[in-house]
C-alpha cells in the first residue's frame, strides 16, 4: 500500500533589504491612495546584489532545518521552483543546493520552472514523485529574486515584486494532507509575463488581471467540489498575492468575506512562487482546518489544491 505524503512544515527566508514602495511609487508618478489601497504593497523585500537564488534557497532550507530539527542526511528528494536560477540555469539550482547542503547521493534533485503557480504545482509534483517511488523525506524550495530582473523605473512592474524564499518539508508524518488539485495553462498568453532580450521583466498588467479574474474563481470552485466539499466549509483561501486589487476582485467574484480571503502581502510585495507558502507558514491559525491554495501567473498557468489538517486518531 502506498503511504500518503503530506505537508509537515514550511519555513520562509526574507532578505534584510527593504524598499519603501510608497516612495518608489510616488517617484514613478502613482497616487499614494492607488499604491496603498489598490496595489497594497507598502514595502518590498529585496536581496543584496551579491545574494543569488542559491543563497536564498539555502537560507530557507536552513530555517526549515532549524525549525523542524530535520536531519538533512535523511532528505531523499529536493525540488527547487525558480525562474531566476543562478548561472543561466545550467547547472540547475537544485543540484547546486544539493551540493551546498551536503545531501545524500541518493537524493533526487531537480528544478521546476514556474512562477506564481509554482508552489501549488510543486506540492502535487513532490507528493506524486515521493509516493510513486516510496520516498520518505522531501523538500520543496521556492526562490525567485525578481529584483534582479525588474527595472526600478518600469511602472508596470517596479511596485509589485519582493524577494524571498521558502522551504517545505513533505513526509508521511504530516500536519496537512494534500487533496486533489486542478492545474492548467494558456500558453498563447505567455508573453504577458516574460523577460525580454534586455534581461528585464515585461509585464502586461491588463492581460494578467483579466486572466486572473476570469480563471481563478471557477478554478477555486472546481477544486472545492473535486474534494467533495462546499465552499463554506473551507476555512481559509490563500490566493497568490499578485496585488490587493486582484485578491479583492477574486474574493468578490467568489462571494466570500475578506476574513476568508485575506490580503497578507503589504510588507513584502508579490513574492512570486514564495507568496503562497510564506502565508501558509505565517498566517495559519489553529481554527484553520481546511485551506485552499491557489497560484496563478507565468505561463500563463494556474493551480489550486486543498490542504486538510491531519488529526491524531
Amino acid at each position: 500500500m502506498v503511504k500518503q505524503i503530506g505537508l509537515k512544515e514550511v519555513a520562509t527566508y526574507l532578505p534584510d533589504g527593504r524598499v519603501d514602495n510608497i516612495e518608489r511609487g510616488l517617484e514613478l508618478g502613482f497616487e499614494e491612495a492607488f499604491l496603498r489601497e489598490k496595489v497594497g504593497f507598502l514595502t518590498l523585500t529585496q536581496c543584496r546584489d551579491e545574494e543569488g537564488t542559491l543563497e536564498l534557497a539555502g537560507r530557507a532550507v536552513r530555517a526549515l532545518s532549524n525549525k523542524t530539527k530535520l536531519d538533512l542526511a535523511s532528505v531523499d528528494c529536493i525540488v527547487v521552483c525558480t525562474q531566476n536560477p543562478d548561472d543561466h540555469g545550467l547547472p540547475n539550482t537544485a543540484s547546486a543546493l544539493h551540493a551546498q547542503l551536503g545531501l545524500s547521493p541518493n537524493c533526487a534533485a531537480f528544478d521546476v520552472s514556474l512562477g506564481c503557480s509554482g508552489y501549488v504545482y510543486g506540492l502535487a509534483i513532490v507528493k506524486s514523485f515521493m509516493e510513486a517511488n516510496q520516498l520518505v523525506c522531501g523538500l520543496l524550495v521556492t526562490a525567485d529574486p525578481y529584483s534582479k530582473i525588474v527595472d526600478p523605473a518600469d511602472k508596470s512592474a517596479a511596485i509589485l515584486f519582493g524577494d524571498g524564499a521558502t522551504a517545505s518539508l513533505l513526509t508521511h508524518d504530516a500536519n496537512w494532507s494534500i487533496g486533489q488539485g486542478r492545474f492548467g495553462s494558456d500558453g498563447s498568453l505567455r508573453a504577458a509575463i516574460s523577460v525580454g532580450e534586455d534581461g528585464r521583466l515585461n509585464m502586461n498588467g491588463r492581460a494578467v488581471f483579466s486572466f486572473s479574474a476570469t480563471i481563478v474563481p471557477p478554478l477555486v470552485k472546481n477544486v472545492v467540489e473535486l474534494n467533495d466539499m462546499r465552499i463554506d466549509e473551507i476555512d481559509l483561501f490563500i490566493l497568490h498575492q499578485g496585488s490587493r486589487y486582484i485578491v479583492e476582485e477574486i474574493r468578490k467574484r467568489l462571494g466570500l468575506s475578506a476574513e476568508k480571503v485575506p490580503f497578507f502581502a503589504k510588507d513584502t510585495g508579490n513574492l512570486v512562487s514564495s507568496s503562497v507558502p510564506a502565508i501558509l507558514e505565517q498566517k495559519i491559525k489553529l481554527e484553520h482546518d481546511r485551506v485552499l491554495l491557489a497560484g496563478f501567473g507565468v505561463g500563463l498557468s494556474w493551480a489550486a489544491i486543498l490542504l486538510t489538517r491531519c488529526t491524531e486518531d
Binding site: E31, F34, K38, N204, G205, R206, F209, S210, A213, T214, S243, Y245, E249
Partner: protein, 72 residues
C-alpha cells in the same frame, strides 16, 4: 453598449465617483478611473460584447463616447 449601461458599469466598479456628471467626451482617467479599474471595466465590456480588445485599441478607450462606439 448604451451610455446608461456604461455608466452603470463604471458605478459598479468605482462607486465612489458620480459618473452621471462625467460628460461623454471627458477623460475617464482624469475623472478618477485608475489603470486597475480600467482593466476591470474593459474586461467586463469584452465579456458583455463577446469581443477581444487589443492593446493598441485599449489605450484609446478613455471616454464614455469611445466606449459606446465599441462593437459597432
Amino acid at each position: 453598449m448604451s451610455e446608461s449601461e456604461i455608466r452603470s458599469l463604471l458605478a459598479l466598479i468605482v462607486p465612489s465617483i458620480n459618473w452621471s456628471v462625467v460628460t461623454l467626451d471627458a477623460s475617464l482617467e482624469e475623472a478618477g478611473l485608475d489603470s486597475l479599474d480600467k482593466a476591470n471595466l474593459i474586461m467586463e465590456i469584452e465579456g458583455i460584447l463577446s469581443i477581444k480588445i487589443d492593446d493598441s485599441e485599449y489605450e484609446k478607450l478613455d471616454s464614455i463616447q469611445n466606449l459606446i462606439a465599441l462593437g459597432k
